[in-house]
């Protein structure tokens, strides 16, 4: 792998993670309750929101799709 290709890859990973962090913050502090009734308000305590944030940052494309397409509440 050339240095330029490696730099591009690392930059892409960084951008992906940054977008993931932003989407994650929006999701855990707003969107989660929209698709998961159990995650509304005190149902999802602050510490748990922080706990699930890295996962949302890692899977943000999937979570965005869920946020905009899921109509029925998920399995609880």
């Amino acid at each position: 792998m050339s240095e330029a290709a490696a730099e591009t890859l690392v930059l892409a990973l960084g951008i992906y993670a940054l977008i993931g962090l932003l989407v994650g913050l929006i999701y855990v502090f707003g969107g989660a309750g929209r698709i998961d009734p159990a995650a509304k308000g005190k149902g999802l305590p602050f510490r748990v929101r922080l706990l699930v944030l890295p996962g949302i940052a890692g899977l943000w494309p999937l979570m965005l799709i869920k946020l905009f397409t899921q109509k029925e509440p998920p399995v609880s």
Binding site: A38, V48, P74, V75
Partner: protein
Amino acid sequence: MSHDYKMVQWNPFKKRFVVWMVSGIALYLTSFVALTYATQPPGNSLTPIQAMIRATGTLAFLMLSFILCIGPVARFTHRFRPFLYNRRHIGVATFLVALVHGGLVLLWYHGFSDTNALVSLFISNPQYDSISGFPFEVLGFIALIIMFLMAATSHDFWNANLGPGVWKALHMGVYIAYGLLVAHIALGILQFEKRPIFFLILGAGAATVVALHLISSIASLRLSDRIGHEGWLRVAEVDEIEDSRAKIIRPVDGDAIAVFRDGDRIAAVSNICRHQGGPLGEGKVVDGCITCPWHGFQYRMEDGQSPPPFTEKIATYATRILDGVVYVNPKPNAPGTPQAPSDIGASS
């Protein structure tokens, strides 16, 4: 089954388990570093960080091997169930150990140049077209990403928000991560470290995982090869089913079925828990409810429904007893359908 999410569903056993696990990790790391120094060949001078890189790397591999052995072994002995119940904790701990390993590698081997450490990781060995010389660091990096995704999605929140199918598919990635780690070790430290301990760790770990999965698969195939009775599948003689426990039947077509005995009652339900796809047949009957061995989700024997106020439902199956032998109809009823258990007393 909880209506709100908790950080961890602690109980006294789980707390003791985590204390033992963390103590074991600390003991392994200190022993490994001490033994590395004590057995170092003349002329070698590993730094403490290098020794810790090896200690965390071998520990993460051994822990992941152990995790992969838990399922198959728990099918044969109840004594392994405590590990099954706490597999999630071991998985997260394994990721953290692997993360320390990766962090130390980046710091020690790639952190002291002007080039970005991650860029350096990808370009320090350019032999991408070689098999024996392939940059093993990249394999470890990909495995670490997979382990991160699994650890980060281990909370109940994820099962509910991804759905059991997607969640389970994501966590089957552990096998990809394990394969990458085997290659990472084989193409990495085994290429330049001649002491047998690393070869032993890799060989014993991988061979045990493969052997246990093969044995478990063969046992499952035998279970599916049953002589039917008018299309019904033979489960076992009544006395062969331990009280409060189940026999698992795997039809050639369809999902596995768990056939439970609770006193004189015999009932069959889907073997797959609605929570995280746990193997219900490896659980037991508690207060008349089938209880998942993974996280304690419960279902009534007579209709496969979680007791109120919970609403989960699993498929039920018809059972019957002929001449002391339990049979199950492999055609599932819709989840939550009442199905009267067979009565052992009535059939004798």
